[in-house]
């Protein structure tokens, strides 16, 4: 075991993938000599060369569009979108081409493209640098959408994403890049599926199921700890994957606890929490003691940095939702 940051864990995962297959390429803005604006690709161009760790022109649609062409030629491109809010120029290529080529070709073409997206807030950034657009991609058939919540998960999941024959949107909680965790850098990674398709119960509990993913998992675990001191037993589930959504793991938990709260940074309107709530209501209606509640961003643009912590679902707002559910 090695104790490294979240960002370094992804770096190690990318390095392993580059070592294991000459077909793996990294593409993005400033990912070469600079190592990316978050240093996630630090040192990789030096070790693997400019043909495999490619500083691209500043054009996100071009990055994803050429990655599609490279994948058609047999490569496995891993694209870095510098910040969440800059993915929209590539939205067309991702949703009309990347997501649909396997379907359009009746399975004759596969596009093993990974798109890494640093997402989420809490870093005091300017506009377009703190958003959580994952639901837009989970809404699009043909894409897999996943988000790791810890350095160990990030190390494993990035390698599994690269090994997956399907296109993967890999959402990295940038506010957690500097948090450290234990990672076994020599561990065998295993096949991507079904490993990437499943949620995980991170903490067992009996009174309420708290569902989170990416940056809010740590918040959920803290909430469970705080609630435990007050005698409430919370089960914490890390979704890990938004598409496909592992409803079975959540439903099994809610059938035992009878209560469910979903927390994410993205706006709750039409968000992941809405989907979880709808599915849990359909699957577990007679087990529910309270409506499924959502805690997340508001139906506003992401606010300015000085007030972003009032927008983000912090510990207090999660505990407030827990209390409301228990009081129902």
């Amino acid at each position: 075991m090695t104790t490294i940051t979240f960002a370094k864990a992804i770096n190690h995962g990318l390095r392993k993938a580059l070592e294991q297959s000459p077909k793996v390429l990294l593409m993005g803005e400033d990912i070469g000599a600079l190592g990316g604006v978050f240093r996630v690709t630090d040192g990789l161009q030096k070790d693997f060369g400019q043909e495999r760790v490619v500083d691209t022109p500043l054009a996100e649609s071009g990055i994803v569009g050429t990655a599609i062409g490279l994948a058609m030629r047999g490569y496995r491109p891993v694209c870095e979108i510098q910040f969440d809010g800059f993915i929209f120029p590539a939205f067309d290529q991702i949703t009309t081409q990347l997501a649909k080529m396997h379907y359009r070709s009746q399975g004759r073409l596969t596009l093993p493209v990974v798109i890494r997206v640093p997402y989420g807030g809490g870093i005091g950034a300017v506009e377009h640098h703190s958003e959580s657009p994952e639901a837009l991609f989970a809404h699009t058939a043909g894409l897999r959408v996943i988000s790791p919540s810890s350095p160990a998960e990030a190390f494993t999941m990035i390698q599994q994403a690269i090994a997956s024959p399907d296109p993967v949107l890999f959402f990295e909680p940038k506010g957690r890049y500097w948090e450290k965790g234990d990672v076994d850098l020599d561990a065998a990674v295993g096949a991507p599926h079904p490993a990437l398709d499943t949620a995980k119960v991170l903490r067992a509990g009996t009174d309420l199921t708290l569902v989170a993913y990416g940056p809010t998992v740590q918040t959920a675990l803290k909430a469970a700890e705080t609630a435990a001191a007050e005698g409430t037993s919370i089960e914490v589930i890390d979704l890990r994957t938004l598409s496909p959504l592992d409803t079975a793991t959540v439903a099994a938990s809610v059938r035992r606890t009878g209560r469910c709260v979903v927390v994410h940074e993205a706006p709750v309107l039409y968000g992941t929490g809405a989907e979880v709530a709808a599915r849990i209501t359909e699957d577990c209606f007679f087990h529910l003691e309270a409506p499924v509640l959502r805690v997340g961003g508001f139906h506003t643009p992401y606010p300015v940095a000085k007030i972003e912590h009032d927008y983000l679902p912090g510990l207090d707002r999660v505990l407030d939702a827990v209390d409301r559910s228990l009081a129902f």
Binding site: P57, G65, M72, R73, G74, Q97, S105, D166
Partner: protein, 378 residues
């Protein structure tokens, strides 16, 4: 025509005049020197058969056999000339009107109609023909072409001097798509990577109802040099000229000389699609002007001038065209309806729990009807 505007015919490479006279061109004559009378008749045959197919498909749409059809009428020389300049290992990324190019790559033209019949979003195996699927989002595929070309570079398939190994990619797109961001990004990526890709722009004068003057103030070929990409304007209704300029561009790409922008100046003689009505936006006089420049007539006049078009050849070709039409008609009518549950296939390359559960629900819903045939309210 506005001098120096996008609709000027100044500066076009031309090897055959509209009346079929061969004109000398010091740069491009060597590119077609090997084309003997047999080769010219083969090009003529290609164009005639593609037009016969085009007419058949239009009729099939009128008969209700196709939901929609996009004609390539009038663009046969641009497509056959460039298509016949390709090598087997080259790759084509078409837009959606490149039926002539599809034909040169060996795609069964009946399969091209699967998309227009509404039974397939594609229709053929792109890797089997080096001819990728039609792309309906304007210009998106120019980036795929460029990425593919970047892959060729990494595979050592460029500039080796081995004619069986060195490869190039051609992206076909239209005048309207030159306004798209993706096309401009493709030009940037191709230029800075020196990628072996030929940008073959068929300027057919109309983007549905918008003339080229709504896309550009200057000839479209003038875009290339700004990106650092050599460009050439060619008479797109002259099959010899389109062949020659494409051959040159492909050779540059395969040898490591980088991308080329070709503007093939042609005309969409038909409607945008069978749903369009060009009489609302363009004049009969304009259509007549271009009818005088028909790409097939031009080569026919040239062959007749040379005494190289016998009545026997013409009769045999007419019969061959009729047989093609009959085969297309029969093939299209025999194309069955996909099963409703086939909509759930190939969404992902790996098993997907969400798709699988929806498929299971749908199948049990269909099976719940007494006749087992499912609901047919539609």
């Amino acid at each position: 025509m506005v001098p120096n505007g996008p609709q000027t015919d100044d500066g076009l490479v031309q090897l055959l005049t509209p009346t079929g006279q061969r004109t000398a061109h010091p740069d491009y004559d060597p590119r077609i020197a090997h084309l003997d009378a047999d080769a010219l008749r083969a090009l003529y045959r290609d164009m005639v058969l593609v037009r016969r197919f085009d007419n058949e498909a239009t009729s099939l749409q009128r008969q209700g056999e196709l939901a929609l059809y996009a004609q390539c009428l009038g663009q046969e020389a641009a497509q056959i000339g460039s298509g016949r300049a390709l090598a087997a290992q080259d790759q084509v990324f078409p837009s959606y009107r490149e039926h002539g190019v599809a034909y040169t790559r060996g795609v069964d033209l009946a399969d091209v109609l699967r998309l227009f019949r509404g039974i397939d979003h594609g229709g053929w195996d792109p890797t089997a023909y080096g001819f990728h699927l039609y792309t309906l989002v304007i210009g998106s595929h120019t980036l795929h072409a460029t990425g593919y070309a970047m892959g060729l570079q990494r595979d050592g398939a460029v500039g080796t001097g081995d004619p069986a190994r060195d490869s190039a990619v051609v992206a076909y797109f239209g005048d309207g798509s030159t306004s798209q961001g993706d096309v401009n990004e493709a030009l940037v990526f191709a230029a800075v990577n020196n990628a072996p890709v030929v940008f073959f722009c068929q300027n057919n004068q109309w983007a549905i109802s918008e003339p080229t003057s709504r896309q550009s103030r200057v000839p479209l070929a003038d875009r290339g040099p700004g990106f650092g990409i050599p460009s050439v304007r060619v008479d797109g209704n002259d099959v010899l000229a389109t062949y020659a300029v494409t051959a040159e561009a492909l050779e540059r790409a395969r040898s490591g000389g980088g991308p080329t922008f070709i503007e093939a100046f042609t005309y969409r003689m038909g409607a945008h699609t069978t749903s369009d009505d060009p009489s609302r936006y363009r004049s009969a006089a304009e259509e007549e002007y271009w009818r005088q420049r028909d790409p097939i007539d031009r080569l026919r006049l040239h062959l007749e001038d040379r005494g190289a078009l016998s009545q026997d050849f013409v009769d045999a070709l007419t019969a061959e065209g009729d047989a093609l039409g009959e085969r297309i008609r029969t093939a299209v009518r025999a194309m069955g309806r996909p099963s409703a549950a086939s909509m759930f296939e190939h969404v992902y390359a790996t098993p997907n729990a969400v798709v699988e559960s929806e498929r299971q629900w749908f199948e049990s819903y269909e099976a719940s009807f007494l006749d087992g045939e499912g609901s047919h309210h539609r």
